[in-house]
């Protein structure tokens, strides 16, 4: 028994070393600047640095829009699949898994190509205006479209797990037999029981959008993750400080969420 524990603590010790040292070192890196001694400048500077506020705001706006769109698309579809139309279930499952087969970099390559069709083929049609509008740097709708697609697998899995735990047809029938209309049955009987799953799906989407770098950078937009990389060239301490904080914040959010809705284990593709 003692030997067994020794083995386990050895494993935990090594893992702890590997996973905690970079975090600790990052903190040291930001406060112990060569030539300046101990300083918390890197953290106090964050807010004042140009682009911090606007890029963070942009990321949050994108996240909210993505969450709204993906839930509006997915929740009715997933609930309807439970109520009827079982033949559509595999179709939706495949559609929601497809983004896993297309890595973000390949996906963005396709988007870049599609966006070029605008000026090349459609410049005389009203569609051209649409192409321009979705690429507005103040609020790039095209990013929302891309992020919704990239969030589909996560959201599908989160909602599927939530729906699996409740018997939707019975819930709806019970609500209907108590005199509720269809919309009332859905909003007042089904959705409250899905709260955990909705929260989980929203959080995953939020984390995805806040951390997303590939698509935004290659399309030339500047949300939070891109901003961190851009400032790293001139202010290394600052970018590391922001990175450490964003990691800790996501961690905290997930812990809170885990406390809320029981265990939430999520893997990117599992």
């Amino acid at each position: 028994m003692a030997r067994l524990n020794l083995w386990r603590w050895g494993v935990f010790g090594l893992a702890g070393l590997y996973f905690l040292v970079p975090l600790a070192a990052s903190v040291v890196f930001t406060v112990d600047v060569p030539g300046q001694g101990l300083t918390v400048d890197a953290y106090t500077q964050i807010v004042g640095t140009g682009g911090f506020g606007s890029s963070l705001l942009l990321s949050l706006e994108l996240a909210l829009a993505t969450i709204a769109v993906v839930l509006l698309l997915m929740v009715p579809a997933m609930v309807a699949l439970r109520l009827g139309a079982p033949k559509l279930r595999p179709v939706v499952e495949v559609v929601c898994s497809l983004p896993l087969v297309v890595p973000p970099i390949a996906f963005v390559a396709g988007i870049v190509t599609v966006l070029k069709w605008g000026p090349e083929h459609l410049s005389r049609t009203p569609l051209f205006q649409t192409f321009v509008a979705i690429q507005n740097p103040d609020f790039p709708v095209v990013l929302v479209l891309a992020y919704v697609v990239m969030a589909l697998p996560f959201v599908y899995r989160a909602l599927d797990a939530g729906l699996r735990a409740i018997d939707v047809p019975t819930l709806v029938e019970a609500a209907r037999s108590c005199g509720a209309s269809w919309p009332q049955a859905l909003v007042q009987a089904v959705l409250p029981n899905l709260r955990g799953a909705l929260l989980n799906a929203s959080f995953l989407t939020l984390a995805l959008v806040l951390g997303e770098f590939t698509v935004a950078q290659l399309l030339g937009f500047r949300p939070f993750a891109v901003w961190i990389v851009n400032v790293s060239g001139s202010q290394a301490q600052l970018s590391v400080a922001v990175s450490v904080m964003s990691l800790l914040v996501t961690w905290l959010l997930l812990l809170v969420l885990a406390g809320f809705g029981g265990r939430s284990r999520t893997t990117s593709r599992g």
Partner: protein
């Protein structure tokens, strides 16, 4: 009377069923329409562009052929090598960690490790890259204090990337294999002992074979995850290690010869094929282990 009864009963039921079915369509169509545009169009663009020669507009396999030659081939092989090495290491290192987590009696510790794994596996990317630059980069804390540069350490290299990739691949492995380890039934261990098996024989003849689909599936999943990673690599190595994702990004940003843009799409198609292969291997393995460990 008895003959008419069933008809009277089934008519409304059939109507309800029909209504439900049409409701299903109504609710699913927006989702399908959205993915057809937001996902279908870019996917089509990749496929179409990969087979189109930019200068002439004619269909050919020239781009694909080009994507398997020279620097592109080096990058493709570099990505495959990096992904395979880091996925294999993460599989080997993740298994004992997951086993330690599963057999731990401290619930809080288990929850903390699994939650932390969830964060690290999914949301690494840029922050992760900077954490490693701060730790093991040229001016990193450990590099300076331990004088690692003199000992030949270089974060901006193949093995440097492997060390960084393990940071999100090991947690991903832990998440993948933990349910399988939890699914190993106590009865199997006891039945094995009861049939005269020692602990080593139990692991060799029962536990590892039962876990094999999960381990292989996990490896393939990790491979796919490492293969698709771009942000971490871009933030750390720039282009000092040849990787396919970096090549595509270069091509998209116009850092290539004119007329070669569509090679980027061909490279993307290569990636999709690899990712598709990953899924094609992963799903049957996943199904088998689900059946064994349900």
């Amino acid at each position: 009377m008895t003959a008419t009864l069933p008809r009277v009963d089934t008519a409304p039921a059939a109507a309800v069923k029909r209504r439900r079915r049409s409701l299903g369509w109504v609710a699913v169509v927006p989702l399908l329409a959205f993915t057809a545009v937001a996902f279908g169009l870019p996917a089509w663009a990749v496929l179409d562009g990969a087979f189109t020669v930019k200068s002439t507009g004619a269909y050919s396999t020239a781009n694909l052929t080009a994507s398997w030659q020279g620097a592109y081939l080096t990058a493709l092989l570099g990505s495959v090598k990096l992904s395979a090495v880091s996925a294999a290491l993460a599989t080997l290192l993740g298994l004992p960690l997951a086993q330690a987590v599963v057999t731990s009696r401290h619930r809080a510790l288990r929850e903390a490790v699994l939650t932390a794994s969830g964060v690290l596996a999914n949301f690494g990317g840029v922050p992760l890259a900077f954490a490693f630059v701060a730790t093991l980069g040229n001016a990193g804390v450990l590099t300076r204090h331990l004088g690692l540069t003199d000992k030949g350490w270089d974060l901006y290299s193949f093995w440097g990337l492997v060390v960084v990739y393990l940071y999100f691949l090991i947690p991903l492995m832990v998440l993948t294999i933990t349910p399988a380890l939890e699914g190993l039934r106590v009865q199997w261990r006891e039945a094995a002992q009861n049939n005269g098996a020692t602990t080593a024989q139990y692991w060799l003849h029962v536990a590892l074979p039962v876990l094999l689909p999960t381990l292989l599936g996990g490896f393939v999943l990790l491979f796919g995850s490492a293969f698709a990673a771009y942000a971490t690599a871009a933030a750390i190595v720039g282009s000092s290690v040849p990787l396919i994702t970096l090549q595509i990004a270069d091509a998209l940003s116009g850092n290539v010869l004119v007329g070669q843009e569509n090679v980027a799409l061909a490279l993307s198609l290569d990636m999709v094929l690899v990712a598709g292969l990953v899924m094609a291997v992963y799903l049957p393995l996943q199904r088998r282990s689900a059946r064994w460990l349900a």
